[in-house]
Subunit: 489 residues, 2 copies
């Protein structure tokens, strides 16, 4: 091989060609560098449009600085997606499964229980539900609005909870949004709800030490958890002191002799599970592998060279390519079916638990009606309380057990056992009082029929609700512009 | 930079250095090539030591041609490994969980049920168990030995099943091994047991069309499945015509009115699950991802340049690095704990099902003792039959549900529901006959106590077994050398 100098000396044209090629390559590298710098600038520019005040509740104000996040957040307005077992549309759960009316007899959930339509609709949904016809504490607002941290900061946390839901309504106007999870100065994730910080603290943990990846679940765990209203002050509290599992929280509540309500038929001192999504997720394989809530429900996107978090919080089944498929190299159809299979199995056990519980409540009512004694009923009611709590721990959580299918099945298995064991004891008590035939269960095949069985006057409730929407709620909305003086600096 | 010619011209020593380096590199490349060729030869040589006769049952004869596979197969002699929920040592299941004695009252399993110690011990284990004190059909040998295909070929399949276990014993001397799964000419995987071929055929499937990866599970599915002995001829049959699941096989057996035995206490027409490992695996995520039995239980190894399948068939938990970690990039400890967590949850539901079933059997006995009628008992016995079948579908399979934890939990949930519902009905029947207190369950806290409750004379059984081992079994072994004339060509 000849040295290159020799070649150039003999054929000058080759030299010029090499020179030309070098010029072109350098030009292209320059273009690439320029593009990279431009993208970085674009990304930097996002942070500096205008500062956001402390406790600013208006999502649209934050949106001026973070248009991509805000626009994707507005995507939660879209409620068209439906998976096999739910979706973002507002399913009437009582219509879909009228057994629920019986399970919650004597409690507001038996009147109305529809699926929440997503964060954007949080305030509309809580205003519209018939559950808020009866007086509720202000604690019920806790997870519905970015105005909650603002008001807690203004009036104090305990004072906020102590107030009435109706009193606080005029201040709570912006739905769940930016400031619930973000620091307006740094945009870092932050916890704005004291209940989570306090629950960590009681367990000897400092939530401010959480990693960024942990925070991508913990901001969700401010609300997507089991909680109760503690004491006269209705102080929002997470029952986590003995642990996260259904069994541990049951022990916590028992230890406290806490009761959400007394059942209308069986007189059982009941527990109502809220939505222990975080607790169930923590028992599952995704949490074990350090996958956060946001990884599946708010996956990263890229637009115009900027990588950002998709704030259209939704079922990953509506976004499999960006959520599941980041890790799972399987077809969308296979992954969707993998989810449905697990949910179908959990749903089957859930139905068995409900059926047994409905029978137990009616049988217990007949036992009381026939003068069964407190002593005879006590072990039965304890079984019913625990069975329904465990059923509800799975049923009230999102995703029909998919966040932890084996744990959900385990808990439902114990729920079934307890409900049916209650029925064994009930059969003996009933026989003692001369009733040795199966208790006839009334027709509860529709929501209407089931609600009539437990004497709910739904027309009256609807009338009251309509008055509220057309007077009070309108007045609240009209005062919106006056509310945010505290947010200005 | 100066052209290389110039350098060499100026300093001849550099030229010699380059020449020397080249010589060394070429020599090393030659060594590498030689090593590769040698390894390939070594691999080729393995195939041609000496031909193996059709139906050759002696594993040691195959082992002369395939020393690596044979040596690893001999690894199954090692029974030291124990996982949290089992292992290859011979656990006495009745000692570990005396409830089993009651569940199988009236059936040979209540006398003796220890964990099989692995393929190498198959013949010893079936000879030693007290279950074979009572007369058994030759069908019981079907999965124990490489002599089975040989004898089926010699006497015919139906004739083999029709014979007595004792009659056939002198011919069945080589434990599960090479020819059960391999063609002696090509070493391809092959199905030697007709029951699997017939089950496929009845479903309209041709097992000879199975892929190699499917065969790496199907050779196991010759035996690790649910089966029953059909009709007078005790013809080995898989109940798969309606599907693989516990529900489908239950429907198959009901349709047939098939009964393994009548329960000694409750008089229930019972089903005994065998070891539906393949069926449960098929409902799990590993099957869904096309992972075969062999991928986890017989992973590939490499030795002396030869890649081969590890024939030490064992729990993947004893070999996590070569099994789980091929796909799962997690620590051994995490993966082991992931398995244990799932097994613990399944085990909890399994125990709940057992406890309910034990009570149901005793309560049903009291009902019969108090003159309950067939009509009253019929729906109860049907629930007990189905409940125990479903429990056994999980309990009899290996791995405490790990092959499909959600499906195992679902089936156990339905098992619990059915057993407890039977107890609700029993409470009413018992009350009718004047018994309205809980039925007292005898002390069954040890295997001995439980066996006494159901009148098993274990000493007598042990004496008979000892006589058999010291006379008949010794005679069988002595005749070994005469048996293989048919295998010579």
């Amino acid at each position: 091989m000849k040295p290159i100098q020799d070649i150039i000396k003999n054929k000058p044209i080759v030299g010029w060609l090499i020179f030309g090629a070098t010029v072109i390559v350098v030009f292209l590298i320059g273009l690439l560098a320029s593009s990279i710098i431009e993208r970085r600038n674009e990304s930097d520019l996002l942070q500096i449009v205008k500062p956001i005040a402390d406790w600013e509740p208006r999502n649209e104000v934050w949106g001026e600085n973070y248009p991509r996040e805000y626009e994707s957040y507005l995507g939660t307005l879209d409620t068209n997606f439906r998976s096999k077992h739910g979706g973002s549309a507002s399913i009437d759960y009582l219509e879909q499964d009228p057994k629920l009316v019986i399970l919650w007899a004597g409690y507001a959930f038996s009147k109305d229980y529809s699926q929440g339509r997503g964060h954007y609709y949080a305030i509309n949904d809580i205003r519209n539900t018939l559950r808020t016809v009866q007086p509720q504490p202000a604690t019920c607002w806790s997870c519905k609005s970015t105005d909650v941290p603002r008001m807690m900061n203004k009036v104090g946390v305990a004072e906020f909870y102590k107030d009435k839901w109706l009193n606080m309504g005029a201040e709570i106007l912006n739905p769940i949004g930016c400031q619930d999870c973000h620091d307006p100065k740094t945009m870092n994730l932050r916890i704005t709800r004291p209940a989570l910080i306090e629950a960590f603290s009681r367990q000897g943990k400092d939530i401010s030490k959480a990693t960024h990846q942990e925070m991508r679940s913990l901001v969700c765990a401010q609300c997507h958890v089991e909680y109760y209203f503690k004491g006269e002050g209705k102080y929002l509290t997470f029952p986590w002191d003995k642990g996260f599992s259904a069994d541990s929280m049951e022990a916590y509540y028992d230890n406290y002799e806490f009761t959400d309500w007394v059942h209308g038929l069986s007189k059982t001192p009941m527990l109502k599970a809220q939505h222990p999504d975080y607790e169930m997720y923590k028992t599952g394989v995704h949490a074990d592998r350090n996958v956060s809530c946001a990884d599946c429900h708010m996956p990263y996107r890229s637009e115009g060279g900027v990588k950002f978090t998709d704030h259209k919080i939704q079922s990953p089944l509506n976004n499999i390519a960006n959520s599941c498929q980041v890790c799972h190299r399987e077809s969308e159809e296979k992954l969707r079916n993998n989810v449905y299979e697990r949910q179908d199995k959990v749903e089957q056990l859930k139905q068995l638990a409900e059926t047994a519980l409905v029978k137990a409540h009616f049988e217990a009512k007949v036992a009381w009606d026939n003068k069964a004694t407190d002593d005879e009923m006590k072990p039965i009611l304890r079984l019913i309380r625990h069975s329904q709590w465990r059923w509800d721990w799975v049923a009230a959580a999102n995703a029909v057990g998919f966040h932890s299918p084996v744990e959900a099945s385990r808990i439902l298995g114990t729920s079934i056992q307890k409900a049916e064991e209650a029925r064994v004891l009930l059969a003996r008590v009933l026989a003692k009082y001369g009733i040795n035939q199966p208790v006839v269960i009334p027709d509860i095949s529709t929501k209407d029929k089931a609600q009539k069985v437990i004497n709910i006057n739904i027309q009256d409730l609807k009338k009251q609700k309509s008055e509220f929407i057309n007077t009070t709620a309108i007045k609240w909305d009209k005062g919106k512009s006056d509310n945010y003086k505290t947010t200005k600096k």
